[in-house]
Symmetry: C2
Subunit: 246 residues, 2 copies
C-alpha cells in the first residue's frame, strides 16, 4: 500500500512523472504548546528539507499531495490544502541535491531530471501529532518534528515556503475553523486556546475565546476531565463535523 520513491525511479529519466513539476508539503503538528513541522534530514549531509514528491502522469495533482502526506505520516484523511505555487528561477539550485545524490554514491550528469528546474506546488497539512508516525523517504535517513519557532536552516527556498504556509494558515484559521485538525479528537477549551495563541502568535482573552468558540456551535461538550489538578475539572470538547459543514 505504501508507495515510496524507488531507486529505479531515481535513476530513470523521470519517466512516469510529470516533468518540471514538484510538490512540497508543510506538515503542521502541535505538541506541548509548540507548533511543529515535519522535516527530512538527508543522509550524510546536514540538509533539512520539506517532505516532497512528484506527480505521476496518471494521478491528480491533489492526490499526489495526499500520497506524499500519507507516505511521510502514515496517516489518511488528513486536512490538506494547496496554498501557493512557487516558480521563481532562483529556486533552481542543484547544489544540495547533487550533494545528496553523491552521498548516496550516485553521480549523475548535470542533465539528470532531479537536477533540472522545478516549479513546486505547496500544500500544508494539519495532523494530530500523537497519531503521526514520521517515515523518512529513500534519500533521507530521518524524518522528525521540528519546532517552528526555532527552525534550522532549510534547503533551497523551503524557509520561504514554510513562511507562506504559516501566513495562509493564520488567515484561514477563523474563516475555515481548521485549528481543530491539529488536536486529538477530544480536547479542553484551554488546549484549543493555546493552539490558537501559538498559531497566531498572540495572547487571546480567556473568556472571550470561550464564548466565541461556543457561539460557533460546532463544539460538542462531553464529560468533564478529572485531571487530578487541584481545581475545577474542565469539560472535554469534540469538534462536531456535522454541525456546521464548511
Amino acid at each position: 500500500m505504501r508507495e515510496r520513491l524507488h531507486p529505479e525511479e531515481i535513476q530513470a529519466d523521470g519517466a512516469g512523472f510529470l516533468p518540471s513539476l514538484a510538490i512540497d508539503t508543510v506538515i503542521f503538528g502541535f505538541h506541548e504548546g509548540q507548533l511543529k513541522i515535519l522535516l527530512l534530514e538527508y543522509k550524510n549531509t546536514n540538509w533539512l528539507a520539506l517532505p516532497g514528491g512528484f506527480v505521476r502522469e496518471t494521478e491528480n495533482l491533489n492526490d499526489a499531495a495526499r500520497r506524499v502526506l500519507a507516505e511521510r505520516t502514515s496517516l489518511q484523511g488528513i486536512y490538506l490544502e494547496q496554498f501557493y505555487t512557487f516558480g521563481d528561477l532562483d529556486r533552481y539550485d542543484p547544489t544540495p541535491l547533487r550533494a545528496i545524490m553523491s552521498a548516496h554514491g550516485l553521480n549523475y550528469s548535470d542533465h539528470h531530471w532531479l537536477l533540472r528546474r522545478f516549479v513546486s506546488v505547496g500544500y500544508y497539512a494539519l495532523v494530530d501529532f500523537t497519531k503521526a508516525v514520521p517515515v523518512p523517504d529513500l534519500l533521507a535517513d530521518r524524518c522528525d518534528w521540528y519546532d517552528l519557532a526555532n527552525l534550522p536552516p532549510l534547503m533551497q527556498d523551503h524557509q520561504k515556503i514554510v513562511q507562506k504556509a504559516l501566513d495562509t494558515l493564520r488567515i484561514e484559521l477563523d474563516r475555515k475553523l481548521i485549528g481543530f485538525n491539529l488536536l486529538s479528537e477530544t480536547f479542553t477549551m484551554a488546549d484549543l486556546q493555546r493552539l490558537y495563541e501559538t498559531i497566531l502568535g498572540q495572547k487571546l482573552h480567556r473568556s472571550g475565546f470561550q464564548r466565541k468558540m461556543l457561539s460557533l456551535e460546532i463544539l460538542e461538550r462531553l464529560d468533564k476531565q478529572y485531571s487530578g489538578g487541584a481545581h475545577k475539572a474542565p469539560y472535554l470538547y469534540r469538534f462536531a463535523f456535522d454541525k456546521k459543514p464548511e
Copy 2:
C-alpha cells in the same frame, strides 16, 4: 516588445518552455455595472477559452503570467494574483485543441506537446476596462470581453477556473482593497459601491458603505463632478496608494 506564440513555437516540441505546465489568467474588467472577463475565440471553432500561455525555461512563473497578461491587454503594471493550481487528470482532454489546430490546417501527432496533459497555474488580474486593448493570440481570431453574469460555455475546465477566481476575489475584496484596480483613476462613491455590489452579488447600504470606505483613509477626495443630472453633484475620489500600503 510584444511577445506572442510564434508558429515555430507551436510546431516545435515545446522547446524553450517548461513541459506539462501552463498558465491561465482570468482577467476581470468592470463596465456599465457588469463584471466582465476577457475570453479568446478560436478560429473556425466556437471554442471560448481563457487567455493562457506557457512558462519559458528562463522565466519566473509570475513573470510568465505578467507576460501573458500584457500580451492580451497591452497593459503593464496591472494587479495580478496567483490563486490556485489546477491539476486534475480530467483537465486533460485534447479534443478541443486538436480541433483548433486542425482549423489552422495543422495536423499533429497525438504526442504533440500541446496535446499532452497540463497542470495549469491560475492567476486573476484586475484591469481598467477603459484602458485595456484586447489582442487575440495566434490561435485565436478574437479576444473580447464577456459578461461574467452570462458566460457562454468555456473550453475544458475553464468554467471552474473562473468560478474559483471569483470566489477568491470575493474573499480578498475587503482584506486587500483590490476593488479599486477595476476602476478608472477617479470615480464616484456610487461607482465604487456598484462595483462592490456586483462582485459580491448583493446590495450594500449606501450610507454605511460610504462611511466604511472613508474610514479606511485610503480615498482622496477631489473636486465635484457636475454630471448634468438634476441632483447634487458627487465628489470624485482617487485611490491613494501611498496612504495605506497593503
